[in-house]
């Protein structure tokens, strides 16, 4: 019996001890109060020191350090893009092809690699958890949402910035894309299935909120709550640069659309419309009060006479859009032949992976902004940033991969090979042109108009007849985030 007691006690105490030891083990990195905190200063400075050295190094020296560090080991990345999985193997190939002799490698360089793509804005928790945890497995990240990166990641010291020497010399804009370092700009565009649609059915950005006759229209879109770059687009629309664009769209809208927009702004409870079902209704009866006037006060937008139109567009869009879990399903939904007249706001490059069949086609898909006479913004653009975790177990490799992805066409190829993603390095971007991707093999006829990407300059030009994408500015987003976030939450 005594032996039995001891055995039980030992095993249970061992279990409890294990749990508690685990707690003790990690307590050095945590205050235990759940608050954001700077990580262990020794670890931060060690990684930062590597970054400082790497920024002064030539590619060959950097790659040597990285190969020495990672050879035979495994490298882990957390990314907002599934295509990250192709970048690391491309670097390994590149080393074996171009540096094997120079680095004195006697056999092929090999390294394991894993990447994950957290959904629903969980990437920030994943990074925080890894940095503040007892074991650090994640080395670097490809991450989006400039606003949250700044407030939740950089200011807390979780992420560190590295700018490759070659990137600086490439002609890239350090002011625009260096802090944090941007891999690329990518676009989400308004697109629609043109089967059965009348000419000009989608010639105005307001057409993605209501039809010409005022009937509500549901654009398929990811919830801004699950992907905050969508929320950032809504924030950015209140910037005078873009309110002006929305005002132009308002001016070119149909009379019915204009009347509805006016009624939304004024919260008009008298004028009735026939487009909300069987019986005539007022806009307020159909949608509820917009609160736009109060929101202009709350968000400090009084000085801009066009702000109300931008808010009216947001109001209509948020009231009518169809939530879809990801851009992939939106693309799948839109490209069905049966989805005649359906529209979405989605990552442009998603259209790369559709296989033609009896019921699915890409041929009838159209980018709204490419249509003649399109009025308003064509979608929005945000950036993918590359950052090193402050506890990166392989900092040299992190820097080398970042250098490879930002300074070599091979490194950017996972994104550059398709339309919709544009490297921040002009020398790299010059090697990718998708303006004729939609042509057939002999280059005479256009099979897939949607694949003919008009390019970064066209998309970002803010003038009539061009893409006029809403460009994300993290600082501006942060400045209006509170007031806008409240209002968006009020609307949905």
């Amino acid at each position: 019996m005594k032996h039995g007691n001891k055995l039980v006690l030992l095993s249970v105490v061992a279990f409890a001890g294990g749990v508690l030891a685990g707690c003790n083990d990690t307590s050095k990195n945590s205050k235990g109060d759940g608050s954001d905190e700077k990580v262990d200063s020794v670890e931060v400075s060690a990684v930062q020191k590597v970054i400082n050295e790497a920024q002064e190094m030539d590619e060959a020296d950097l790659y040597k350090k990285a190969v020495d560090e990672i050879n035979g080991k495994s490298f882990t990345v957390v990314a907002n893009s599934s295509r990250m999985k192709d970048a690391f193997p491309a670097w390994v190939d590149y080393i074996n092809k171009n540096y094997k002799t120079k680095l004195g490698l006697t056999s092929d360089f090999q390294a394991g690699f894993s990447t994950t793509q957290p959904k629903n804005n969980q990437i920030f928790n994943t990074i925080k958890g890894d940095v503040t945890g007892a074991n650090h497995s994640i080395s670097m990240t490809l991450i989006q949402d400039g606003s949250q990166i700044s407030t939740k990641m950089i200011k807390t010291g979780y992420l560190l910035n590295y700018i490759p020497k070659e990137w600086k010399a490439s002609g890239a804009s350090e002011a625009a894309d260096g802090h944090p370092l941007a891999l690329q700009s990518l676009s989400k565009v308004f697109a629609y299935n043109s089967i059965g649609t009348a000419e000009g059915a989608f010639n105005n950005v307001f057409d993605f909120t209501m039809k010409d006759d005022g009937t509500p229209f549901s654009t398929q879109f990811m919830s801004p709550a699950s992907e905050p770059v969508g929320a950032n687009m809504l924030y950015m629309l209140t910037n005078p640069t873009y309110t002006k664009v929305v005002k132009e769209a308002y001016d070119n809208a149909t009379d019915t659309q204009k009347k509805i927009i006016d009624a939304i702004i004024e919260e008009d409870n008298k004028t009735t419309f026939n487009c909300f079902g069987d019986k005539p209704k007022t806009v307020v009866a159909a949608y509820g009060a917009s609160g736009i006037k109060a929101q202009i006060e709350n968000a400090g937008l009084n000085a801009d006479p066009n702000a109300k139109y931008a808010l009216a567009w947001e109001f209509l869009f948020l009231k009518n859009y169809q939530v879809v879990t990801d851009d992939g399903p939106i693309c799948t939904n839109l490209t069905q032949k049966s989805a005649a007249g359906a529209g979405g706001l989605l990552v442009y490059s998603k259209f790369r992976s559709i296989t033609e069949s009896d019921t699915v086609t890409l041929k009838d898909m159209r980018v709204a902004a490419y249509d003649n006479g399109y009025s308003g913004f064509g979608g929005y653009m945000y950036k993918h940033y590359l950052q090193v975790l402050s506890t990166s177990p392989y900092p040299w490799t992190s820097c080398a991969i970042i250098q490879f992805m930002t300074c070599h066409a091979e490194g950017f190829k996972p994104w550059g090979k398709d339309m919709g993603g544009y490297s921040a390095n002009p020398q790299v971007q010059a090697k990718f042109d998708h303006s004729r991707d939609g042509y057939n093999e002999d280059g005479t006829t256009i099979d897939y108009p949607i694949k003919n990407d008009k390019g970064y300059d066209w998309w970002t030009k803010n003038e009539a007849g061009k893409g006029r994408l809403v460009l994300e500015d993290g600082a501006y987003c942060s400045s209006v985030a509170t007031a806008m976030s409240d209002w968006i939450s009020y609307l949905r």
């Binding site: 599934s82 999985k85 074991n135 709550a225 109060a294 990801d326 992939g328």
Partner: protein, 619 residues
């Protein structure tokens, strides 16, 4: 004086009192069941309550960088504040409208969803249990086996099947499901999204609970009472409502309590079929995920509120359990359960209805998943391919967004290995700790402390998975275990201990104390008594305490989704591919998971006789 001096000087009474207490403590602790109880009581109290306290404290913070808490983005670090709680009762009309949308409406929807799920689960599971155990239904073994399939499958996969069947461009605004594409039938909006489909899916998923619990009572029910009523010429309907139904009421109540809390914490089902073009159905679980970024304290409040509801359910459960004395006719000893003759036609009609129903709830999803893995594009019924299984072209699109086929997809197989690892160790720990808790509680039935430990061990089951996950998310971050298998195993263990503790307790109280006493007299050590006498006698029940955590752990999402990245578990990969719209992958993963669980269930059944549906219609 002398006497007084003697009285004041002598320390004997104190010493003897201390010694007495010490001796009685040593005597108490020398019994293994007491020692284990104390240690497990301390550990479980810490592991259950510390995360709950953590998440509660989190509700009193303003989080740096959270747009709706760090107003103006000026915080240098997190600050203590009652701001988020005060919002719940704010008089500000604008803020009140936001809180209504973010909290009060989802709370109402959550309660409605949980209640309706209970109704569906009990109706579906109870009727099938009755037909299988108390009638001359055909194909009982087959129906009993396939009926538990929905519980084995991750719960939202039925939601995906629902979408595949009933979505339509006209109504849901997404794509044509089978009804719309092949039969040109557009189901109404209330059928496609919102409360009804969510409750139906959850009801079907949890119907096996009702089936197992109610079926167990039906099977062991003493038929003497019904027969007595029959002899007294009582009409059949009256016998059913006045005799049979009261006897199964405890099982019905148990089912309600279990299903209510489980359905309340479901995230993926409302996430996938809650909202359509014309319906919006926010629940607390989906709101929790939405608010995590901008209002993490409000998200934690949601978690705390769900916990409070869970604790309330526990209290109701305790009250109901104490009131079970009135149903002591359910002895479990009678072998005289009478069979109701449905008649030849009736038996076949009921059988065919059940065969069709279980086909759609259990077999059709498998067929649907299998077919989905061969479609060229997701949901595209016109072109077929093997690429989703065997594509091995690295870096090429192939209409798969650059993913390799399942056979070559190392990320999936790593995650699958992670699932096996997590489920196995969580099951081993939960099974062992739960068995010990059940054993100790059964040995100390009159002890308040034993009841406390038993209650604490059972509490996590009544807390919604999302709440437990949220609590361990905060806790895991605080102790630096985020995104590690040990956190997943720990939370799995805590959540699934009730499976084992209840199974163990129920089986241990059936054991006569004389069996162990005989061994004690023979001076057989405790561990030998456990390993050679007690466990072998009750191995079936005890093994079910290991099997259920394993199965649940293999197909769990809500509990784990905040705690690890998608490369850690197969269900997280499954959810990732569902979110991405790569349904071929998610379907393949689903199939692999279900086959794995069935194999393990079959293996355990073959080796030990334990099985999920054992004892009802299975065998």
């Amino acid at each position: 004086m002398g006497n007084a001096s003697n009285l004041t000087v002598t320390p004997t009474p104190k010493t003897s009192s201390f010694k007495k207490k010490w001796r009685s403590f040593v005597t108490y602790i020398s019994k293994p069941q007491n020692a284990i109880l104390i240690i497990l009581g301390i550990i479980l109290t810490a592991l259950v309550f510390i995360p709950m306290v953590d998440v509660f404290l989190d509700t009193f913070k303003l989080h740096k960088g959270a747009a709706r808490e760090d107003r103006g983005m000026t915080l240098e670090s997190d600050q203590w504040s009652t701001y988020s709680w005060s919002l719940l009762f704010t008089q500000n009309k604008f803020q009140a409208a936001i809180v209504r949308k973010n909290f009060w409406v989802p709370l109402g929807n959550t309660l409605a969803l949980a209640a309706l799920s209970c109704v569906f689960a009990i109706l579906f599971g109870g009727i099938v249990a009755y037909l299988v155990t108390r009638t001359n239904l055909k194909f009982k073994k087959y129906i009993s086996s396939v009926f538990i399939f929905p519980y084995i499958m991750p719960q939202w996969t039925l939601a995906m099947v629902w979408k595949n069947l009933f979505d339509s461009i006209e109504v849901t605004g997404t794509k044509q499901g089978i009804f719309a594409a092949f039969f040109h039938i557009n189901m109404p909006a209330w059928w496609c999204g919102g409360l009804f489909p969510c409750a139906m899916v959850l009801g079907m998923h949890y119907a096996p609970f009702a089936y197992i619990l109610i079926g167990g009572v039906f099977r062991n029910m003493d038929a003497n009472l019904e027969e007595a009523a029959t002899i007294l010429n009582t009409p059949k309907w009256k016998i059913f409502f006045r005799v049979t139904l009261p006897m199964v009421m405890p099982a019905v109540v148990s089912t309600i309590l279990l299903v209510f809390s489980s359905a309340m914490g479901s995230y993926p089902v409302p996430h996938y079929i809650g909202s359509t073009k014309s319906t919006d159905f926010p629940v607390l679980a989906t709101k929790y995920m939405e608010l995590q970024s901008d209002s993490p304290a409000m998200a934690s409040i949601i978690s705390v509120v769900m916990m409070v509801i869970g604790v309330t359910i526990l209290l109701i459960n305790m009250k109901m359990t104490s009131g079970r004395k009135q149903y002591t006719t359910v002895t479990g000893k009678s072998g005289q359960a009478s069979k109701v003759n449905l008649g030849k036609v009736g038996a076949w009609v009921c059988t065919i209805i059940l065969l069709i129903t279980t086909f759609f709830t259990s077999i059709f999803p498998m067929i649907s998943f299998a077919l989905e893995t061969f479609y060229e594009n997701p949901g595209d019924y016109s072109a077929w391919t093997l690429k989703w299984w065997n594509n091995n072209a690295v870096g090429e699109e192939n209409g798969m967004y650059g993913q390799l086929g399942i056979w070559h997809n190392t990320a999936f197989w790593r995650a699958f290995g992670g699932s096996l690892f997590t489920a196995t160790f969580a099951a081993l720990l939960a099974g062992t700790v739960g068995t010990l808790v059940g054993y100790c509680a059964a040995k100390n039935r009159k002890s308040k402390f034993a009841n406390y430990v038993s209650g604490v061990a059972f509490l996590p089951y009544l807390l919604p998975s999302l709440s437990v996950g949220a609590a361990y998310f905060v806790f895991g971050n605080n102790i630096g275990w985020f995104n590690t298998y040990r956190l997943l195993i720990l939370v799995g263990m805590i959540k699934y201990i009730p499976f084992a503790s209840r199974a163990s307790f129920n089986s241990m109280i059936q054991l006569s104390g004389e069996i162990e006493e005989a061994a004690i007299i023979q001076n057989i050590p405790w561990y030998k008594r456990m390993l050679r006498i007690i466990i072998p006698i009750q191995k079936s029940s005890i093994l079910s305490g290991y099997l259920l955590p394993f199965i649940t752990g293999m197909r769990e999402l809500t509990l784990f989704m905040m705690l690890a990245s998608s490369d850690k578990l197969a269900t997280l990969q499954l959810d990732y591919f569902d979110e991405m719209g790569l349904y071929a992958f998610s379907s393949a993963i689903n199939l692999i998971l279900v086959v794995t669980i069935l194999l393990v269930n079959g293996l355990v059944n073959r080796l030990t006789g334990a099985s999920l549906d054992k004892g009802i219609g299975g065998k």
